[in-house]
């Protein structure tokens, strides 16, 4: 028996590059994991690419909404003084979203960090940006608190405490990645963020004030403003065009390509701003559902027996709750809040995910590598979430992509019923306005309706092809 190579007859692969174009060009790259393989297969069909393109497009609008559609001019000269009312009007979320999006895009292109590290990085960048932007408005929030009669402490003590806690939180967020990430990544991220933090500290972002949108148009008309650069859609979502009452409820026309609403706001601008709610409610509600479903389903599938029995009954109870009725009841009694809506939708739709994860875990717990992990003395947390979950998460990804679509639909339904948000624009609420006034306002029905349809359709396309990618027992590479 020759035992010279100690390599058990395994061909030694070249150390550098599995060069494309060679004999291996048809093969999968060797470093591709199961998940990467699935993502690759998902993106092969044209339909799912189109779906994803629409979602990316939507995400772009959601992230850049205040820059695209805003009544505040980007840049203007008034009596010789230059100013940028738009920048001044930005809220913390308006800054956090683009920064996080840019960070995510950079990480996607560079691919230096693993998926977990990348997500952590984006989360950290967003947190720092948020802390930096929201921090200066803390006194304002404090004032609101006081207005709400929460005078437990003297104003001075509370203010000091608030500042202290805030500073601690900011410090912790800033220092966090030093312990988690490779040093270089930390340095690069720090270098990118430091100027931003300084900028926001020097030019604090103010909390929203009562704004009079028409003043820019009036000043421009009277010649007080000598130079003005406006956003692409020069109307904010809540700009009711008080100076132009004759433009209420007009069909598409010059200046308002998608027409206006019964109370005067520009439909296009509202639709752009509404994409933010559509996306966030879909993602956050589904995120809550996935987290709860994975935990409950994972425990059920791993422990079986009594835990499984109780979990199954819990699932049945939750499945028996009519979602829309509960949502209506809750908005009716607790007021209209986007976060409440997300939480309720999430807490009502985890049952499917839990069933999927349970089924996967029932299968996985018998797998040799799980036994091996137990035999290595790994803690339960690691066995469940590090070793079993990545092998069983795939079906949940499919159901999540459908879940996003159904959450968007649910929010639209609620808004259409008039139980959505009050001031924030939402597609469903706009649909409702289509039947206000004397007749049927086709433009308010058509465009938001099309947006809802396309978004739900896009998620379903992506979900379908994700399901196909997972379907034919793909672990054939073994």
């Amino acid at each position: 028996m020759s035992r010279g190579d100690g390599n058990s007859g395994f061909p030694v692969r070249p150390a550098v590059g599995y060069a494309p174009g060679g004999a291996m060009s048809d093969d999968l790259p060797l470093r591709r994991t199961y998940l990467q393989h699935v993502v690759h297969d998902t993106l092969v069909p044209v339909a799912s690419r189109l779906g994803l393109a629409w979602v990316v497009c939507l995400a772009f609008f959601a992230v850049t909404a205040p820059f695209i559609a805003n009544s505040h001019p980007i840049l203007m000269q008034e009596a010789g003084r230059w100013s940028s009312p738009m920048l001044k009007s930005l809220e913390p979320a308006d800054i956090v979203l683009p920064v996080a999006a840019i960070a995510a895009a950079v990480l996607l292109v560079r691919r230096k960090l693993s998926a977990g590290q990348g997500l952590g990085m984006v989360a950290w960048v967003s947190a720092v940006t948020y802390a930096a932007t929201a921090w200066p408005s803390a006194p304002q929030y404090y004032a609101t608190l006081r207005g709400a009669r929460l005078e437990l402490m003297s104003a001075w003590a509370a203010w000091t405490l608030l500042r202290f806690v805030g500073a601690m939180v900011v410090m912790m967020i800033v220092l966090l990645p030093i312990f988690v990430l490779p040093r270089r990544a930390t340095m690069v991220a720090g270098a990118c963020l430091a100027p931003l933090v300084v900028l926001t500290l020097v030019f604090p972002v103010r909390p929203p004030e009562l704004v009079v949108y028409e003043r820019y148009r009036q000043k421009e008309g009277s010649g007080q403003i000598t130079f003005v650069l406006r956003a692409m859609v020069p109307y904010s979502a809540n700009d009711r065009l008080r100076d132009q009452p004759e433009l209420r409820l007009t069909p598409p026309r010059r200046g308002h390509p998608l027409g206006t609403e019964p109370n005067g706001a520009d439909v296009l601008s509202r639709m752009i701003h509404a994409s933010r709610i559509a996306l966030s409610i879909g993602f956050i509600a589904t995120g809550i559902a996935v987290v709860v479903g994975v935990i409950v389903g994972g425990l059920m599938g791993y422990f079986v027996g009594t835990v499984d029995l109780l979990g199954m009954r819990l699932i049945e109870i939750f499945q028996a709750i009519p979602r829309l009725v509960l949502l209506v009841a809750i908005t009716a009694s607790y007021g209209r809040s986007l976060y409440l809506m997300m939480a309720v939708i999430g807490m009502l739709s985890w049952t499917g995910d839990a069933r999927f994860i349970r089924a996967e875990f029932l299968k996985l717990r018998k797998e040799d590598f799980v036994q091996a992990a137990v035999a290595a003395g790994l803690p339960l947390r690691s066995i469940l979430f590090r070793h079993m979950l990545p092998n069983g998460i795939a079906p949940v990804l499919v159901s999540a992509s459908f879940g996003v679509a159904s959450a968007i639909l649910l929010e639209s339904t609620l808004s259409f019923l008039g139980l959505g948000l009050v001031d924030e624009p939402s597609w469903g609420q706009m649909l409702n306005q289509a039947r206000e006034g004397s007749g049927f306002n086709w433009w308010i029905a058509l465009f938001p309706g099309a947006a809802i349809f396309l978004t739900v359709f896009a998620y379903n396309l992506v979900g379908e092809s994700l399901r196909d990618a997972l379907d034919p027992k793909l672990l054939k590479r073994e």
């Binding site: 290595a376 803690p379 092998n391």
Partner: protein, 363 residues
């Protein structure tokens, strides 16, 4: 006599199934001494794997349950430990490698991640040190270019390589006992020999004890110091490897040896043991081997009374009424602090060129 490293006393394991209780392991007792290789041999379903899994308490509960017995690791009863303490025994004091290398590694993590996780858990080291230890242990099991292999996924490796990785992972925390549950069954013959040799060499280097579960008498002959033969949930014979191969006492062991082909023996057909392995759900009464036994010859006792495991000769235990002086022998629990001497020399030579010497390597 030295203290045993692991002592199993009267272990009985049952499974609660739809057809009632099945007891695949009954009153099993034996000892493993430091540095010793004990082998459990038997057919599929005789309870040897369940015994091994019970030592680490890896039996799924429910449906399984350890009905009685003790597993004493250096005097500590593992069956009575709380789960948190048991976790620090698993992987650290007792490591285990499994039969199926193709599925024993998590497909979504790199080899390095998986080895390092166990190291970080059981040893107080930094991530960088853990990586060095992992790289070193890959090198120790004869994997070329360990630094690069650490970053690879299991599907990029062959079966033999994966079993080496499993061994590296098991040994990276320097366990006192390694349980090898049919470590070579899924591998082809040449790789089998390499893996067993590797295990022998590493075992000698670390003076680690090993419990070898197998159905392959060749593997036993080459590796074990002491052997327990299991049949239908019980140990029916226990002896040193030399004793067992020279003077098998139990008719089942005899039958096993007769059914192994021998080189130079021109036989038309191999001898077989008549009948089949009994179903654990309904074992025969009395001696569980009696329906297939050639010694019985109408002895009613075999069908009624189950023979206990007795020390029928010096350091030789057997459970059969027809072994001479079985009835007069003492009923003791088997313990043999014995090391083989014969094959050690040969493996020294073979091992030398399979594995680079441990000292020269710097990660």
């Amino acid at each position: 006599m030295a203290q045993p490293l692991l002592e199993i006393r009267d272990l009985t394991v049952g499974f609660d199934t739809d057809r009632g209780w099945i007891v695949p392991v009954r009153n099993v007792s034996f000892c493993i001494y430091p540095g010793q290789t004990a082998a459990l041999v038997g057919e599929s379903g005789c309870g040897k794997s369940v015994t091994a899994l019970s030592i680490l308490r890896l039996i799924a509960e429910p449906p399984g349950r350890i009905l009685s017995g003790q597993v004493l690791m250096e005097g500590r009863d593992l069956l009575a430990l709380p789960e948190t303490q048991m976790r620090s025994v698993r992987g650290k004091d007792i490591a285990m490698i499994f039969q199926e290398p193709m599925t024993s590694l998590n497909p979504v993590f790199t080899i390095g991640d998986q080895i390092m996780e166990a190291i970080l858990l059981h040893q107080h080291v930094t991530a960088r040190e853990a990586r060095d230890i992992a790289e070193r242990s890959l090198y120790d099991v004869g994997i070329a270019d360990p630094g690069r292999r650490l970053n690879e996924y299991p599907h990029q490796m062959s079966g033999g390589m994966r079993q080496r990785v499993m061994i590296a992972m098991a040994l990276s925390c320097k366990p006192k006992l390694l349980i090898a549950d049919e470590p070579t069954t899924a591998l082809d013959v040449t790789i089998q020999a390499q893996i067993l040799e590797l295990l022998r060499k590493l075992q000698r280097q670390a003076n680690m004890a090993m419990l070898l579960i197998t159905h392959d008498l060749g593997v036993v002959a080459e590796n074990a110091d002491v052997v327990g033969v299991m049949y239908a949930s019980r140990i029916v014979e226990y002896a040193t490897v030399e004793d067992l191969f020279d003077r098998p006492a139990h008719p089942y062991t005899e039958g096993l040896f007769r059914s192994v082909p021998k080189l130079g023996n021109l036989a038309e057909r191999l001898a077989t043991i008549p009948g089949t392995v009994p179903n654990p759900a309904h074992f025969p009464s009395g001696c569980k081997f009696h329906p297939r036994c050639h010694r019985m010859e109408g002895d009613a006792k075999c069908g009624q009374i189950e023979p206990s495991l007795r020390e029928v000769a010096g350091s030789h235990w057997a459970a059969c009424h027809h072994v001479p002086n079985h009835a007069s022998s003492p009923e003791t629990s088997p313990r043999l602090d014995h090391r083989r001497e014969v094959v050690a020399m040969a493996t020294e030579d073979l091992g030398a060129d399979v594995l680079p010497s441990a000292k020269e390597y710097r990660p």
